[in-house]
């Protein structure tokens, strides 16, 4: 009996809900002049949490800003790390070396993705004839991931050029530093791809094979495209780390941003160039991180929205 009047009451918010995704259930404001009771409540709640977040942020930040300068060594630290003149002076000098970082990154990243995917596929081959390939790929990922990146860079960057007598482009430390980065990151990225490949349900493989596609056709057209889509966010995470780890080639003497900052520090006896270098790295890594988070959120919405086998 009561259902009729209840239905009429709820009607105000129902039309916008009925045909939308579960994650879009929140009523859109401003759609109709008289907001429903629920929408008003919802809006009030959201305003309230925004306010709470803003106030607590302001409190925490101002507390830090007030407390840190009270420490006994603050003036010393500020003079040696946050000296404005040194900052302005060093930033342009770091710019060119930083472009080298970006170049190394731009060359290494695509290589890593290609090698990583090949290794991941190699670890998934089931044909017995290709067992050595699978074995090699497994050993590769285990050995490479078992040693710190910086140690690989030292070993390869100093070791390999020693094989040659003459000096040429292929004996430059930056080349082998980059090679070591590709080698290490490919192993990490291969694991990401492998997780993606194994995350594709067996039934997709069964469907593809039942249509007569061979196992390599199945991998190429059915499994990999789905796996790659799924691993884009974790892959981006690795790329953000790579962008920072490019600085590790500085241990070989390559004058990139970190190395350059080190030189400036030793010339001026002031640590501010390090901070300037950090600012440059942040300029690239923060947008990349935001993009990754955005992609992850989108994927979460997508996978929780509809259940597809």
């Amino acid at each position: 009996m009561n259902r009729v009047s209840e239905g009429a009451d709820a009607d105000a918010s129902v039309p916008s809900r009925s045909d939308s995704h579960p994650d879009q259930l929140r009523p859109t404001q401003g759609q109709r002049p008289g907001r429903s009771r629920r929408a008003t409540y919802d809006l009030r709640q959201r305003r309230r949490s925004t306010l709470v977040a803003a106030v607590s942020t302001v409190l925490v930040v101002s507390a830090i800003a007030m407390i840190v300068p009270l420490t006994p060594g603050w003036d010393r630290v500020r003079a040696s790390f946050f000296d404005w003149d040194t900052f302005v002076d060093s930033l342009p000098q770091l710019w060119d070396p930083f472009l080298l970082n970006l170049r190394i990154f731009a060359i290494c990243a695509p290589c890593i993705i290609v090698v990583g995917m090949l290794v991941a596929v190699a670890r998934n081959v089931r044909s017995p004839a290709l067992f050595p390939l699978r074995l090699f790929a497994t050993i590769y990922t285990d050995v490479v991931r078992g040693v710190p990146v910086i140690l690989w860079i030292l070993l390869i960057g100093f070791g390999v050029p020693g094989l040659f007598d003459e000096r040429a482009w292929y004996t430059k430390s930056v080349v082998w530093g980059g090679f070591a980065l590709v080698m290490c990151y490919s192993a990490y990225v291969a694991e990401v791809f492998r997780a993606g490949i194994e995350g594709i349900h067996e039934s997709q493989r069964a469907a593809s094979r039942s249509l007569g596609l061979s196992s390599s056709q199945t991998m190429r057209t059915v499994v990999l495209p789905q796996a790659v889509r799924r691993v884009v966010p974790p892959l981006m995470n690795d790329m953000v780390s790579l962008q920072k780890d490019v600085a590790l080639v500085s241990v070989l003497g390559t004058v990139e941003a970190l190395r350059r900052a080190q030189i400036l520090v030793s010339q001026s006896f002031n640590f501010t160039p390090y901070v300037a270098a950090a600012v440059l790295f942040l300029c690239v890594s923060i947008p990349l991180t935001r993009l990754t988070d955005h992609l992850m959120a989108r994927q979460r919405r997508r996978t929780s929205g509809t259940a597809v086998a």
């Binding site: 039934s203 997709q204 069964a206 469907a207 593809s208 094979r209 039942s210 249509l211 007569g212 596609l213 061979s214 056709q217 057209t221 059915v222 495209p225 789905q226 889509r229 509809t306 597809v308 086998a309």
Partner: protein, 248 residues
């Protein structure tokens, strides 16, 4: 009627669990055979074995007089001739409906894309799905997805279709549209083996019904006899339970 498919003394175990125990079954050309039985009786495994998705431990599977389960026999050419539809549809979610259907004809049969698309559209039209050609699987209802999965299998022009509980995952109101597609295929003379829980449908469509119990073919026969006067106590017991659950 010539025998299209003969399953002969097939055995299959997963570890120590025997799933198929000396199964023998004939399917004539243009015949529809329904496999009935409780969950876990081996219906799905039998279909997967016929499509060579699972290797058998012993026995033989003859397709047009060739033992396709012979060790070393290449599975891919067999799968081209045997279509399979799964309970969970298994459409490729990253491809449009049209691409799902044309994938195998273009990649496996090497047919030109335009020609494959033309015949895909024709099939979609026949089953009332032509407006869904550019949609993606997650935009379709379960019934539509399953019909697309059937069309995808049909696009390879298989000689025989294996349908594995194709309505089991569907909303009851959507079951009918999928059953209609199967009725249509029967009219077109398709040889089919169905594993199904829809007893009423099995009774209507089957030329022969085959009752599996604990991996064995306990009884088989024409539907009238199987459903009205089953001979074996296991069959009677099973049917009594099906009736009690309101599915017959």
């Amino acid at each position: 009627m010539p025998v299209k498919l003969r399953v002969e003394h097939v055995r299959k175990s997963f570890g120590s669990k025997v799933v198929l125990d000396d199964v023998t079954l004939d399917v004539g050309a243009h015949q529809v055979v329904c496999l009935i039985g409780a969950s876990g009786s081996g219906k799905s495994t039998l279909l997967r074995c016929i499509n060579l998705l699972e290797p058998i431990d012993d026995g033989s599977i003859w397709l047009d007089g060739v033992d396709i389960a012979e060790p070393g026999h290449d599975a891919d050419p067999v799968r081209r001739r045997v279509g399979m539809v799964f309970q969970s549809y298994n459409l490729f979610p990253h491809m449009s409906v049209l691409r799902n259907i044309t994938l195998a004809p273009t990649k496996v049969l090497k047919r030109p894309a335009a020609e494959a698309e033309r015949s895909a559209i024709e099939l979609l039209e026949r089953f009332g799905l032509d407006d869904k050609a550019s949609a993606y699987p997650d935009q379709l209802s379960g019934g539509q997805q399953q019909r697309v999965a059937i069309v995808r299998a049909l696009a390879m022009q298989p000689e025989i279709m294996l349908l594995d509980e194709v309505t089991a995952a569907l909303d009851p109101v959507l079951v009918g549209e999928v059953l209609n597609v199967i009725r249509d295929m029967r009219k077109l003379g398709m040889t089919m083996v169905l594993a199904t829980h829809e007893m009423g449908f099995a009774r209507e469509i089957a030329d022969r019904v085959c009752f599996l119990h604990q991996g064995r073919v306990v009884e088989q026969g024409v539907p009238e006899q199987m459903f009205s006067e089953p001979e074996r106590p296991e069959t009677r017991d099973f049917l009594a339970r099906v009736i009690a659950s309101g599915r017959l």
